[in-house]
């Protein structure tokens, strides 16, 4: 094992071939990850052009966000994992403070209180940065302890996860709190949480879910009921899911062709450029198109897991792993919800859905992944 490790690191770092690609390495970018992302972004812009009703201004706005996101990603990649590790607890404390601030003085939009007003008319959504801070915090906490974690650290981690999750669920923002909870849970899982504990959690989830039902807001209950039977209200809450399934199903194997999807272009599909954009893609590019997209996603996830596996310390490993797996949760929840497998939760399709804040957070996450990959030192341990 030791020898294998040594040999692998020797190969990847001292071979002349790797040395030559060191221009990107020097600015701490991972070429494979970057390549995958750019491919995905390009495909996403094409789908967005169609889904937005051929609106070039919307594509340009999205492109602007992507550029901003790429800059954020590059910035995040420059910071070493050790710095992230050091700041983790402080960031967490600040984050929780901001979340409480949102609940107290936050601004409302669409019935949810998610934003903090900043000077200059800018609005800031603390729940977005918590998507990164929570896995950082849990990774930091667990990295300090012997793994696999014992009872106490597990309970403590759960508390660390639950506090922001509940604060965000109260805003209410079910999609984000779900993503945040899963990012923390993934860190726990990767740290070697025992399977029997996982099994115990799964069983405990049943009464928790039952309890959650009574805490849910009416619109959240509606979503769950509609998920169970969209036809119970085909003109109201069931409309979205019926129309998105129709869009996907009518796409068939090869799709109707780019810009030819009737469901989106004739406005039958709501939110076609944001959360439901995969339905547009499925309608226009068919099963072949969606599977290609899934393969691309899988390649990116694969690279993320590879980076995590090769990270040099426990903190980096747990953080990179949970960021990657959370990225997957985005994809699964989004496609699952649009295709009617899961209830409708406001989770965008990463790097494809039109929208501001979440895409920047995603880029930041990938910046951290690149930082983990590019700040390795030979024989650091």
């Amino acid at each position: 094992m030791i020898r294998n490790d040594f040999q692998r690191q020797f190969r990847s770092h001292n071979s002349p071939v790797t040395r030559r690609t060191s221009l990107l390495q020097a600015i701490h970018l991972d070429p494979s990850l970057l390549g995958g992302l750019l491919l995905l972004l390009t495909a996403g812009l094409f789908v967005l052009y169609s889904a937005s009703g051929e609106s070039m201004p919307m594509v340009m706005r999205q492109l602007t966000r992507i550029v901003v996101g790429l800059i954020v990603m590059m910035f995040m990649a420059q910071i070493s994992p050790n710095s992230y590790k050091r700041w983790s607890p402080w960031l967490y404390v600040i984050g929780i403070g901001l979340l409480i601030g949102v609940l107290v003085i936050g601004t409302q939009a669409k019935g949810a209180q998610r934003w903090l007003p900043l000077p200059g008319g800018v609005r800031f959504q603390p729940s977005e940065v918590m998507k990164l801070i929570v896995p950082m915090m849990v990774s930091w906490y667990l990295a300090e302890r012997a793994l696999p974690p014992q009872w106490k650290p597990v309970v403590a981690s759960c508390v660390l996860i639950l506090i922001p999750t509940l604060l965000i669920a109260k805003q209410p923002d079910l999609g984000t709190s779900l993503l945040i909870a899963s990012s923390g849970i993934f860190a726990l899982f990767l740290s070697g949480l025992r399977w029997r504990v996982i099994g115990g959690f799964a069983i405990a989830l049943i009464p928790i879910a039952t309890g959650a039902w009574f805490l849910m807001r009416d619109y959240q209950k509606q979503r769950v009921l509609t998920f169970l039977d969209p036809e119970r209200d085909p003109w109201g809450t069931g409309w979205n899911i019926i129309q998105s399934k129709t869009a996907i199903g009518s796409g068939g194997l090869n799709g109707k062709g780019w810009l030819n999807g009737t469901q989106a272009h004739l406005d039958f599909l709501p939110e076609s450029h944001t959360d439901f954009i995969i339905a547009v893609m499925a309608e226009e590019f068919g099963l072949v198109g969606v599977c290609s997209l899934l393969i691309l996603y899988f390649a990116i996830i694969g690279r993320g897991i590879y980076i995590a596996m090769n990270a040099q310390d426990t903190y980096s490993r747990l953080l990179a792993g949970s960021i990657t797996l959370t990225f997957f949760v985005y994809i699964f929840v989004n496609i699952g919800m649009v295709s009617g497998l899961l209830p409708v939760v406001g989770v965008p399709l990463p790097f494809v859905s039109y929208g501001g804040t979440s895409i920047v957070t995603l880029f930041a996450g990938f910046g951290i992944l690149m930082s983990v990959q590019t700040h390795r030192k030979l024989l650091s341990r």
Binding site: P148, S191, L253, L287
Partner: protein
């Protein structure tokens, strides 16, 4: 760090992490496969179902209303047209707050209270979702401009252009052609709802109603692609509607106009019939109303005005007005008398100015106070001698009068191609028993002999009986519509079933009665001799004066002392030319006074309007009255 629970074991941690990362990868793979299977299920296995669903989402079949058939007079004059009008409509499903939308529109164009009310009523009726419900019709240029500029601020509001019935001669044919109006819930149940799915109007009265099936046409469809808001984005297929058939009437616009002009602002009716065909040449009921008012919905106030008017402009006097025919029936009673042997053309009686039944003190007065002296049947017709006809009626008996007059169409509907016709009354012993459970009194026979008492006839019935007289017994059935034009081919309507012609024992009796009628006009002592002035043809006529108000036995009728509404009705029937009649006319002027002088000129004006151009034509070129 008093008691470190366990020492950190980096190799173990790496190993654990690797196995967990691999487990996570496996979970990712499985989850991705679940997605792929789900997508495969939707996109391949259920593709057909969802394809159909997507198509039915966007593709719908919209009905297109056919253009209503046009109505022409016998010379091709367009009497009922379709004109484009612009209306503002609202799609309720898109408008959101409907009251706010109406208010917004009201700020731009005038909306009367009734308009809004009727719109709300229409809105509550059965209709397709996402269909445009018209709010106001007949927008003018300025209103269209004002609305167009603001349309983008008012979702669901649109300006629609549609062809709407238009009657260029407004009130002139309101009772003949009738009018169309907005189709109501009751009417939609009677017609084929599919065929009317795009139709907004239906014939309400007159020819428009009677020939609704022919005029309406066949609905067309267009298959369209619509977006989620019901807006049409593309027309995929179109099945053109079949326009309604055009109707060609017997009506002669010139004759119609002449009658309207001659009646002027008096109340009355005038009907002209071609005795050869039964075709109605003129059908006038006055006062009338602008038929266009009803097409797009008459406002409540105007309707109340029409409905409440004592002059009853909505009342179709031609087929619904039942008047005592008065002396106009005397020529027919005269023939009945000769045919049944109750009198002959040579017999004379002395008229002291009254008639008296045995065992009855009542004096049955002549219109002429001191009588006509020695009177034979010919003179009795010419002078309209009541005394002669009292005696004749008494000799005939009521049942003989009834039996002889019935074939002329009295007492039964003529079954003209119009709606809501009244049958009039031709009294008999049986009729009185059946309707009043009373025996017949001899005095009533006398009154019936001069067309008074129970006897009632519509102006149409008078025109028909006059035409039959002009025909010397050949029965006709009156008709408005001559032919129907479909796909450019004009086809005459089949002649309706008729009763057997009237055969007299002595056909000469026709000529003798008609000779009496000729003298009414052309003899210097005829009751309507003033009509002969400047006349270019031979006209047979008969005046009538129907009593509305019973004056006391010894009182003298003095028009100036009686309220206008109690004055006598003036009647006149006529046909011309006598040898080969081509027009028969019946005129009634309500409370108009003496028939010869008041109703007669209307008849003369109509016959002139119809005959003079024909006579002029006959002198120059051989007849050419057919439409080119």
């Amino acid at each position: 760090m008093a008691k470190p629970a366990t020492l950190k074991d980096h190799y173990r941690e790496t190993r654990i992490f690797r196995s967990r990362a691999l487990a996570a990868t496996a979970i990712v793979v499985v989850a991705m496969l679940v997605l792929v299977i789900r997508l495969f299920y939707l996109q391949v296995y259920q593709h057909e179902t969802y394809s159909t669903k997507a198509d039915s989402n966007r593709i719908s079949k919209h009905p297109i209303a056919p253009n209503r058939g046009l109505i022409f007079d016998r010379n091709g004059v367009l009497l009922a047209d379709n004109q484009p009008t612009y209306s503002v409509s609202i799609i309720k499903e898109l408008a959101g707050d409907i009251d706010q939308t109406i208010e917004d529109i009201g700020n731009l164009i005038t909306l009367k209270e009734g308009t809004t009310k009727r719109f709300k009523k229409r809105l509550s009726q059965r209709r397709r979702p996402f269909s445009e419900v018209p709010l106001r019709y007949r927008l003018n240029e300025e209103e269209i401009a004002k609305l167009s500029v603001n349309l983008h601020n008012m979702p669901g509001v649109s300006i629609e252009a549609s062809l709407v019935r238009s009657y260029p001669y407004k009130s002139s044919l309101a009772h003949a052609i009738g009018y169309v109006g907005r189709i109501n819930e009751r009417e939609i149940k009677k017609v084929n709802a599919n065929n009317y799915s795009a139709t907004e109007h239906i014939g309400k009265t007159g020819v428009e109603r009677f020939y609704e099936d022919q005029l309406h046409g066949q609905v067309g469809y267009q298959t369209v692609e619509t977006n989620a808001r019901g807006k049409i984005t593309r027309v995929l297929d179109r099945e053109a509607p079949t326009p309604g058939d055009n109707l060609h009437l017997y009506l002669d616009w010139a004759t119609q106009q002449a009658a309207i002009k001659a009646i002027g602002d008096r109340r009355g009716a005038a009907i002209a019939i071609d005795p050869n065909t039964g075709g109605v040449l003129a059908f006038v009921s006055m006062p009338a109303f602008d038929a266009n008012l009803f097409v797009t919905g008459i406002d409540y106030k105007s309707y109340q005005g029409l409905q409440g008017s004592r002059a009853r402009p909505l009342f179709n006097r031609g087929i619904q007005g039942q008047y005592p025919p008065g002396s106009t029936i005397k020529p027919i009673v005269a023939i009945a008398g000769v045919e049944k042997g109750a009198t002959n053309w040579e017999r004379k009686i002395y008229d002291p100015g009254w008639y008296k039944l045995e065992n009855d003190d009542h004096l049955y007065r002549d219109w002429k106070k001191y009588g006509h002296g020695m009177v034979d049947l010919d003179k009795a017709i010419m002078r309209s001698c009541d005394t002669y006809f009292y005696e004749l009626a008494h000799n005939l008996g009521i049942d003989n009068i009834h039996d002889f007059m019935a074939p002329f169409g009295f007492g039964t509907r003529t079954h003209i191609d119009l709606v809501s016709e009244k049958p009039g009354i031709l009294p008999s012993r049986f009729w009185k028993k059946a309707t009043k459970s009373q025996p017949w009194y001899p005095g009533e026979t006398l009154i019936a002999g001069i067309g008074q008492g129970y006897m009632l006839a519509t102006p149409l019935q008078l025109a028909v009986s006059t035409a039959i007289l002009a025909n010397r017994g050949k029965i006709i059935a009156p008709r408005m519509v001559k032919s129907i034009e479909a796909d450019g081919y004009i086809e005459d309507l089949a002649t309706p079933e008729k009763n057997d012609d009237i055969i007299l024992k002595d056909p000469l009796n026709w000529e003798k009665a008609i000779a009496g009628m000729e003298k009414v006009v052309h003899h210097p002592r005829g009751t309507a001799h003033k009509l002969a002035k400047g006349i270019q043809y031979k006209m047979a006529g008969k005046s009538g004066t129907a009593q509305v108000f019973t004056i006391k036995q010894d009182e003298k009728y003095d028009a100036s002392k009686i309220s206008e509404w109690h004055r006598d009705h003036a009647l006149f029937v006529a046909f011309a030319p006598i040898d080969n009649p081509t027009i028969a006319v019946a005129v009634i002027i309500e409370n108009g006074g003496g028939g010869g002088s008041n109703a007669g000129p209307v008849a003369r004006a109509m016959v002139d309007a119809y005959l003079l151009p024909q006579l002029a034509n006959a002198n120059t070129t051989p007849s050419s009255q057919e439409k080119p």
